[in-house]
């Protein structure tokens, strides 16, 4: 068995151990934040692929997260029952894409089924990433950072300024995601343990997918692009296509995270699209060691959990800002890396760590 599957097994064991620990200590309420952490982690591993392995910075991934979340929220809450007579609506409800459910007041709501909404949300994110990815990824350095930052800000402004999307309040009362009969993604305490495993199972699946990708021909091509793009191009690696595919992949991961977290939380607000969120994701990838999937995942688990539990209080954003600066000043290769012991020794013996580039 390959070493990377052992790592995956160890990860699954860790996730199960955490759940057992909460069971033994009778503190199952921790699982709520841990489940949310899992969904953020789906985004993080996708971003890690883009920033760490393909070497393309993105300050707009909260935008993709929100595209996913908002589309899912809008489609599953927007009542179409008054349009029942229209042929398109009738056709959609006949094919099962629309589903009716009772609302709080005993009436009947006709909305998109959560699966259909999820597919629409992910396809939209895919198309948007594909369309803007082409020109955006031609840019480098500052321009790339600003362009992705700009994209994120556009999504934020639209979410904040559109009354149909709830403006500053966002969308609430989003129904659970009915995965299969009997299995639902929602914040109900009765399905908390199941949701914990669904969420982390999804993370595990994502990790396996990305690990296989990293160890494939495409993954080695990405590493070459990160090292020296011109050289990679000269070696015959289709750099533009690889970069675009990675961008689209990470955007779809972000959108999926947005869809599921929205169903889990039962709502979404414009703050999820704020620049600060994108920066926070980038900080986690940076501290995890950039091109280090397990490092990013581990830091995501720790930092998102601490943040969601409110340990950083009103200094939440400041903590992530500090982390970014400190990591980039003193350990640009991230905190979790193989050479860490060697560096510590060198640091203790008095020499300031030498630069070795990104």
């Amino acid at each position: 068995m390959k070493a990377r599957y052992l790592q995956v097994l160890a990860f699954v064991a860790l996730v199960s151990a955490i759940q057992l620990l909460t069971r033994v200590t009778d503190s199952a309420y921790h699982l709520t934040q841990l489940t949310m952490t899992a969904y953020y982690s789906v985004l993080i591993i996708g971003l890690c692929m883009l920033v760490g392995y393909a070497g393309q910075i993105s300050l707009g991934h909260a935008g993709f997260f929100c595209i996913g979340g908002y589309i899912a929220a809008f489609l599953t809450t927007h009542d179409l029952s008054m349009h029942k007579g229209k042929p398109l609506v009738a056709l959609l409800s006949k094919t099962g894409i629309l589903a009716s459910r009772p609302d709080l007041y005993g009436g009947n709501l006709l909305t998109f089924h959560s699966w259909a909404a999820c597919v629409v949300a992910m396809l939209t994110a895919l198309v948007i990433a594909w369309v803007i990815g082409g020109p955006v990824l031609k840019l480098k350095g500052h321009y790339l950072a600003m362009a992705t930052l700009g994209f994120g800000t556009i999504v934020y402004r639209i979410a904040l300024g559109t009354t149909l999307l709830g403006a500053a309040d966002g969308i609430s009362d989003v129904p659970p995601f009915w995965v299969l009969p009997g299995i639902e993604i929602s914040g109900n305490a009765s399905v908390r343990v199941m949701n914990y495993y669904i969420a982390w199972g999804l993370v595990t699946a994502g990790v396996v997918l990305l690990l296989n990708l990293i160890h494939s021909r495409a993954g080695r091509g990405l590493a070459a692009i990160h090292g020296a793009e011109d050289a990679a191009e000269a070696m015959g690696i289709p750099t533009a296509r690889y970069k675009l595919n990675t961008f689209v992949l990470s955007a779809v991961f972000a959108a999926l995270a947005g869809v599921l977290l929205t169903h889990y939380n039962g709502g979404i607000g414009p703050s999820e699209a704020s620049v600060m969120k994108s920066v926070r994701y980038l900080a986690i990838v940076a501290i995890g060691g950039m091109a280090n999937l397990w490092g990013s995942l581990f830091m995501s688990l720790v930092l998102n959990y601490l943040s969601l539990r409110g340990y950083f209080g009103t200094y939440d954003d400041a903590v992530f800002g500090c982390i970014l600066i400190l990591i980039m000043l003193f350990a640009p290769e991230g905190l979790i890396r193989r050479s860490i012991l060697k560096d510590l020794k060198r640091f203790v013996s008095g020499g300031v760590a030498e630069e070795t580039g990104p």
Binding site: G141, R157, V275, V279, L324, I325, E355
Partner: protein, 296 residues
């Protein structure tokens, strides 16, 4: 749209455009000296406005602005000395992330000092409702102040870069840092100075515009994006062109309100930014030659 309203929009556009141009010049000064885009540039503007308001509570207005500019200048110097000076050939990715981190720290500090509320200096002359009638167009006296001070800043900067030793040293460093060092110029001090100059200009801009636009702890980021748009539009590093580009963006934005909901105002600037980046990253006034980009 009648002709009076048209000019009203133009005047509003020029006012905002001046501020964007000031932020863009701040970007350019640091970019020319170091090749870094300082993502915390908008925060200098916010800090300028905020500290001026605070000092104005016990100092007369002109003195409050001067002290505020000095304080922010010192902050600019501190940022350079603490976070940038000692880095040895940092990669672009690293510098982007560091300056973003700095901008977050400044913003969060501002939030804890001043809270979430909006603040503003009083109008320099007259009140918020007084207006000068310039041939049918009503202009707030503050607009005259903003445009006037903006123009003076641009003129002074040109004089500074062309006729003073320090200004010439800065240009020498931007043209070729090693050669400048061989001529006996202390390149590190020049970089520190560029941060101070850029912080000072940003802070001055923040103070003079705060009566019209108000400042808040998080007003830096939108300003940074728009200032960057303007800097790119004019050609990165070219401060005179940035003034023209600032006017273009300001006027476009002000007319966009006539067509689109005001909530989408920021979107206009970003869409313009993305279009320029995609189509003509050297800017509309810049030539495509890379050398042109580095010349002030």
């Amino acid at each position: 749209m009648n002709i009076d309203l048209f000019f009203q929009y133009v005047v509003a556009g020029i006012t905002y455009g001046t501020v964007y141009a000031i932020v863009a010049i701040g970007f350019n000064i640091i970019y020319n000296a170091t090749g870094i885009i300082n993502f915390a540039q908008g925060e200098f503007v916010m800090l300028g406005g905020m500290t001026a308001v605070t000092f104005h509570s016990f100092l007369p207005l002109p003195l409050a602005i001067i002290v505020a500019v000095m304080v922010v200048t010192i902050i600019g110097a501190l940022i350079e000395v603490l976070f940038i000076r000692w880095l040895h050939k940092p990669s672009v990715l690293r510098m982007i992330i560091i300056t973003i981190g700095i901008s977050i720290l400044i913003r969060e500090t501002a939030l804890h000092i001043w809270g979430e509320g909006v603040q503003a200096l009083p109008y320099f002359t007259g009140t918020s409702v007084s207006a000068l009638n310039l041939g049918g167009v009503f202009v707030s006296p503050q607009v005259i102040w903003v445009v006037g001070i903006g123009a003076i800043v641009v003129v002074l900067l040109n004089v500074f870069f062309n006729y003073t030793i320090l200004g010439r040293q800065l240009r020498a460093c931007s043209a070729n840092r090693d050669a400048a060092r061989l001529c006996g110029i202390n390149a590190k001090n020049v970089v520190t100075f560029s941060f101070m100059l850029s912080a000072a200009i940003g802070a001055l801009g923040g103070s003079i515009v705060s009566p019209i636009t108000y400042v808040q702890y998080d007003s830096g980021t939108p300003l940074a994006i728009k200032g960057f748009t303007v800097a790119i539009l004019g050609g990165l590093g070219n401060s005179t062109a940035a003034v023209g580009a600032g006017m273009i963006l300001g006027v476009l934005e002000s007319f966009s309100i006539a067509v689109l909901p005001a909530a989408y105002k920021d979107v206009i600037a970003i869409v313009i930014l993305l279009c320029i980046l995609f189509i003509r990253p050297s800017g509309i006034f810049g030539s495509t030659e890379a050398a042109r980009l580095k010349e002030f």
